[in-house]
Symmetry: C2
Subunit: 162 residues, 2 copies
């Protein structure tokens, strides 16, 4: 892990979520301390952020073979939140130690569902920071299955004043 760059790297080392303060690590979607949760992990991949996730097969939509839209929204939300926090840390050039990641909450989440996503397939989420304006970070996220983009999200994340 390269701490000097203040950026957790996608080299098998720590994910963005591993840097959340223990008190804030209970998220059902991405908290490392939520034993029932999905525990998604996000990393930088160049200028974009990336996350791979294989949902359990019971996360179906109305039909058994189609992925649940609520899970898609959830994954986009958590990956977007991690991306905002990591991007702000990078902008601030702070040295990220475990627990030092700035904390963000979602102000708004918009998801456009472009195509049904299949179940039983590893998903790829990619995040791109659109704007950092003080405590407000706007992030775009795509969710793909088998290299096809199935959903696009846009999030406005707001940094919590600690």
């Amino acid at each position: 892990m390269n701490r000097d760059t203040a950026i957790p790297q996608s080299d098998g080392s720590d994910a963005f979520q591993d840097y959340y303060l223990e008190e804030y690590a209970h998220c059902y979607g991405c908290g490392r301390l939520n034993e029932y949760g999905l525990k998604i992990k996000s990393y930088w991949d160049g200028d974009e952020s990336i996350c791979h996730f294989l949902p359990k097969e019971y996360y179906s939509g109305g039909m058994k073979n189609i992925l649940y839209g609520g899970l898609i929204a959830s994954l986009i939300d958590c990956h977007g939140a991690g991306t905002a926090a990591a991007a702000k840390a990078r902008e601030m050039k702070i040295k990220i130690e475990p627990g030092a990641m700035p904390r963000f909450v979602t102000a708004s989440l918009k998801v456009d569902y472009l195509a049904p996503a299949p179940v039983g397939v590893e998903l790829e989420l990619r995040g791109a920071v659109k704007e950092i304006k003080g405590r407000k970070v706007t992030v775009g996220v795509t969710l793909s299955a088998k290299k096809k983009i199935c959903a696009k999200g846009e999030l406005i994340m707001v940094q919590v004043r600690e």
Copy 2:
């Protein structure tokens, strides 16, 4: 249950989701046949739709006492989908039998998170149909805890051609 009105009623009888065709009743959020799912139930309450749901306590956000935003988006999505289907059925004046509910998919979902929602509290979702335009139904949904609106959603739902 008053079938003559083509509207499942909030009198302890069938919910919107009980009218989904078996093939489409596997949604993790609202499918009556998804044994792992949340099985939310939506009803008419006058011109609005209503749903009450008590999430398990492990659906926390970053902090243990705050409700998971992904769950909020999921509940809004499922309740909005049910509302769109029931509203279209009402508009079409079709006699709703189990399995006869028109089927809708989410084209877009927007959620504004206004205030943290607590865990361990029964939530109330209320849906209002904003527009029905052919196969497209726009629905607004609020999510409240302890009578305080914590999130507002807007969904564009599209009826599937069977």
